[in-house]
Amino acid sequence: MDCVIEAADVWKMFRLYHDRAPTLKEQVLFSHRRKYDELWVLKGVDLKVEKGRTLGLIGQNGSGKSTFLKLLTRIIYPDRGNVKIKGKVSSLLELGAGFHPDFSGLENIYMNAAIFGLTKKEIDRRLEEIIDFSELEEFIDSPVRTYSSGMYMRLAFSIAINVDPDILLVDEILAVGDEGFQKKCFNKMKSFKSQGATIVIVSHSLGQLEMLCDELAWLHEGVLLEQGVPADVIGKYRTEVFAAEDRRAETKSRLQAEHVREEATPDPERNSLDDPEEGDIPIEITPPKRRGNGSVEITGVAFMDRSGRGKTRFESGEPCVIEMRCHKHKPVDNLVFGIAIYRNDDLWCYGTNTLIDRQPTDVQIMGDGIVVRVNIAKLNLVEGEYYLNVACSDGLATEYDYLVRCLDFTVYSQIKDVGVCRLEHRWEISGLNDRGAAVAAER
């Protein structure tokens, strides 16, 4: 097959300078002293892209995908190995390169398109399309410095995308302009694809990549782990990323639980747990904000799936269990357990307690061993980041123990509905044609 991009054993190193001062004097005097760390961002990447294919690059932050894209633009060069590229490359990495604020939009079109390697004739031919696409007809003769940032980006984007490249490089599908403009960009990219252009996209939006790409490549810490059909690669990537996140979260919640437990007998006047744990715990954890008189102490909190495995990522609608372990230090008259779920922007999404739910709580035993479970049949929150507060009190004014933001968790979903929670629903539309009705009936 005809490969337009061929990267063979590509290594790239960046120097992280401790204190960058590359003057002649220092270069000469301190040549023996190394003032930088070497950071290998790419470690032997082999990648081929055939003509007309759309390749998506995925990977976590720092995996080297943007660096790889930059190597393809020939702005930077690999330290080892080589990159072969056939055809005209345009990138949507850095837009508006070489715009001069004092020149008009029109003059800047000529300048900017020329930097992409177009001749005057070629620019003339595309001029109308570029101006049309940018929606800047009225302002095209005004100096670019009078443009708003949105207009500036629209113009830059229109030029970059209208140079008709053989290879288009995209870093994050752009958030340029309003929704209408974004849609136009998306369509333009699709039409590129159908015209046989090769596209390489870096993105974190797996959904978009799955829609656009013919294949995906997964970079991890500078190494190419997988290249193949989008669905497969995404599957493996999701599993790995979520597993890693869960491992991290598990360590964190375990540490938090231990932290709570190892607290000495609570001081009744205590307001918060300020002093961080000493010792050889490698991860720094911020203790949750805490208040209460300590008659009953919450010693551990866990968010679990139905089988009792601790988790911090849930699919929307999944069953789950919140578990609290408590230690009763003093006899108390009334005991009320409560939970509250907040979105990470502090919106209160849900809260309930045993008093509201009329759940009896006459726990007789003293000391350790009180386990409270809240079984949630369906976690109907929409996709987002949330956190959990737990408390026990007398149901009136006295709080025994109140933990603010003791656990963070994430809800993900295939369905991209919005708001706070998902209401169970079903659509009914009258006047559908037969086929539509049949499809609806099947569902």
Binding site: F14, P22, T23, L24, K25, Q27, T73, R74, I75, I76, Y77, V89, S91, L93, E94, A97, G98, H100, D102, F103, Y110, M111, A113, A114, I115, F116, G117, L118, T119, K120, I123
Partner: protein
Amino acid sequence: MLSVLRELYAYREMYKNMVKRNLRTRYKASFFGFLWTFINPLLQLVVYSVVFSTIMRMNIKNYPMFLFVVLLPWIFFANTTQEATGLIVSNNNIIKKVYFPREILPLASTTAGLVNLGLSFLIAFVALLLFRIPLTLSLAALPLVMILEFIFTLGVSLLVAAITVYFRDVEHIWGILMMAWFYLTPIVYPLNVAPGKYLKYLFLNPMVTLTEAYRDILYYGVFPYFPGLGVFALMSCFVLVFGYLVFRRLSKGFAEQV
């Protein structure tokens, strides 16, 4: 080598634009705008005329013109190479963002300098006539000398442009170097004032041949010494190739250094 030329040809529109922009932005936002290209040498000439005809009388006929016709080429060389020291760094916004043959930048800036020199010479021609110095057939050699100076200047520009990216001190060293070079070249003085035993060393300075050629053509109205120019031409080509090779090699790291 051929592929390089082909690539430069493909980017000819950018080159044209960069030259235009270089010429236009120089005096952008000033009242006289592009006219400054003419006003600038004119005013310089007025100053020299006043100074050297009233305050500091020189023993050379039409001294202002003696100076002026070689000062203009010197300014082309000095300004262009000084500009080259900051060329890559000041264009970091495009260097870091898009690929294009980096040689375009020094090439465009040197071309703009050459265009400026040509326009300044228009003033010089008028002034020569006013000073009643005849313009002779020797003017036919002027384009050749200008092209040779262009080649030499381009070579030096490529060299300093690339090196300054890695050693920023060159920018300042170059200023001093240019001052020394200025006085080692017979611009304010005639070549024959130099003591005989140093004269042959003076000719190691390529700018001496060049300056003398300009002065022969414009001030004395005679054809320049062609064998000397031939040597200069060879050396200029060598400087250009050397400068280009260094530039090519160092240009791969520009985006990370600026």
